[in-house]
């Protein structure tokens, strides 16, 4: 049996549904020694901003039970250098690259997206990181307010015909409501989840283990939150969902697909093993063969919920 692992998001077809998550795979070339990145379903880049950002002071990382907290602070080379240095590389990288964009005002996001559009580079689409404070509306994050999310999506939608993905935060009362707002604004797909708020403290020094005191929690510990979020979003809207959070194995991917995800992203697990996503892709093929699953679509949303 040949298994069809391909999935579509908007107008783009991906060779398989296993991507690597923003901020956990650099710009896609750092791990060339360790992994054949052309096998990945797609690479989602580190968040790109209007200007280069140096990021937050250390410490930026700490381990927690089955997880970690980070506060990198969107350190990145900025859109201009990204277009100059990375876009040419993506011509021959052998898989789709999705550029993740971050900003602090609608104009910020638009600026980056428009530059990328006019660069004519080989970028198949955009993932919009809305977990950033919105300076226009008094520093509340875009991601927590349906109105901000809708307006931002609308503005970006009018500036591109390419695949437009909104990446949602779990730190909200009703993620379905934010998802609906993003879809109203014109998003082709949604990805979830970004990190949870988390904190830990070193009893010896009495200092938080992260320079921003509270940082972003990721890893296997948050997988149940990711799966619940995907399940809720896929009940609330009709666009494809990309599942993120704590994926380390093909079993986790199956759980996300059953819950309603059309694709997934591997994040924190890349830090332990940069080739883990490619191994999961292999395992996914084997799993489908062994279970007589002809196409990935036969798994998407196929959880048999209790009523």
């Amino acid at each position: 049996m040949t298994v069809d692992l391909s999935v579509s998001l908007g107008d783009v077809s991906f060779k398989n549904p296993v991507f690597v998550a923003s901020g956990t795979f650099g710009y896609g070339t750092e791990s060339n020694d360790l992994v054949d990145v052309s096998q990945l379903g797609a690479i989602v880049t580190k968040s790109i901003t209007k200007h280069p950002r140096e990021g937050n002071p250390p410490p930026r990382i700490v381990e927690t039970p089955s997880g970690m907290i980070n506060s990198i602070g969107l350190a990145n080379i900025g859109v201009d250098k990204y277009i100059e240095k990375m876009i040419p590389v993506y011509e021959k990288i052998g898989t789709h690259v999705i550029t993740n964009i971050a900003g602090f005002s609608i104009d910020d996001y638009l600026h980056v997206l428009e530059k990328l559009e006019s660069s004519g580079g080989n970028v198949c689409g955009y993932e919009i990181n809305v977990s950033c404070p919105n300076v226009d509306t008094g520093r509340m994050e875009f991601s927590v307010d349906p109105k901000s999310t809708r307006e931002l999506t609308k503005a970006l939608r009018s500036a591109t015909k390419k695949l437009l993905i909104l990446k949602l935060s779990p730190n909200v009362t009703d993620i379905g409501e934010i998802a609906a707002a993003a879809v109203e604004g014109g998003a082709d797909a949604l990805s979830a989840i970004n990190t949870l708020f988390g904190m830990s403290i070193d009893p010896a020094t009495r200092r938080p283990n992260i320079n921003t005191n509270i940082g972003g929690l990721s890893g296997p510990s948050i997988r149940p939150v990711g799966i619940a979020s995907v399940y809720k979003i896929s009940k609330a809207v009709d666009v494809p969902v990309i599942g993120i959070g704590g994926i380390t194995s093909v079993k986790d991917v199956i759980e996300y697909l059953l819950a309603g995800a059309s694709a997934v992203q591997v994040g924190t697990a890349n830090f332990r093993d940069a080739a883990i996503a490619t191994r999961i892709i292999n395992d996914l093929g084997t799993y489908c063969e062994e279970n007589d699953i002809a196409t990935i679509c036969d798994l998407i949303g196929k959880v048999e919920s209790y009523d």
Binding site: P58, M68, A75, D273
Partner: protein, 267 residues
Amino acid sequence: MIVKKMIAEKGTVLNNEEIAHGIYQMTFSAERICNEEPFPGQFLNICVDDSWEHPLRRPMSIADVNDNQLSIIYKVFGEGTKILSEYKNGYSIDLLGPLGNSFGETEGTTPILIGGGVGLSPIIWFHKVLQTNGVEHKIVVGAQSVNEHFLSHDPEENIYLTTDDGSVGEHGTVMPTVKKICDEVENPKLFSCGPEPMMKAVHLFVNKFDFPCELSVESYMGCATGLCQGCVIERASNSLKEHSYHERYSLVCTDGPIYQAKEIVFS
């Protein structure tokens, strides 16, 4: 600097024993990593556990290379190193390496190697390499007390031990001994790896007297492969390097862990 390839390899534990109070030495075979010809200062990133309770690997400096064998010297610090200390011979150890840069030029200088605590590995290995290459040098090793030492105080052989409690070698920190040696030798160049207070003292000293100095720096690492941007240290200068997205911070895992003392700021 030759760029070495990062290799993910399962080694086999050949020996794992306590060599001083709470300090272990582990030797394992790892042919493909050894083929990359690691040099003192480089490190491995070790996955301590198949389970995902500790998602992150633990960075450990390479303490020696012999043919196809590597060794590390590590202190039992928290849960991860506790697990390491329980590895039995024959156990399959999940390694990534060689990582980072290494100690640099010694020509025209008298190398003074300064180490302490868990930072001893690269120093002892560098000492061995210099011996092998016939480079005359000094080595100064600090500890709190005799229990933590696993070298002998032997000034005739240019090996100086110091202890905080005076239980072996010179009484006090490494600094008085280092200063004395610097006064005596021609063109001293310092190479140091050790606990933060020691590194800060060395940093202060070399900056004052403008001695050349290479420091091996530690930081909390997420990946050790340039993916996470977690391991930054503040730069003194603004010399942008490859994997750093910025001029202010440097990635210890790929730009480091060895820095010219003048390049960096200790906060």
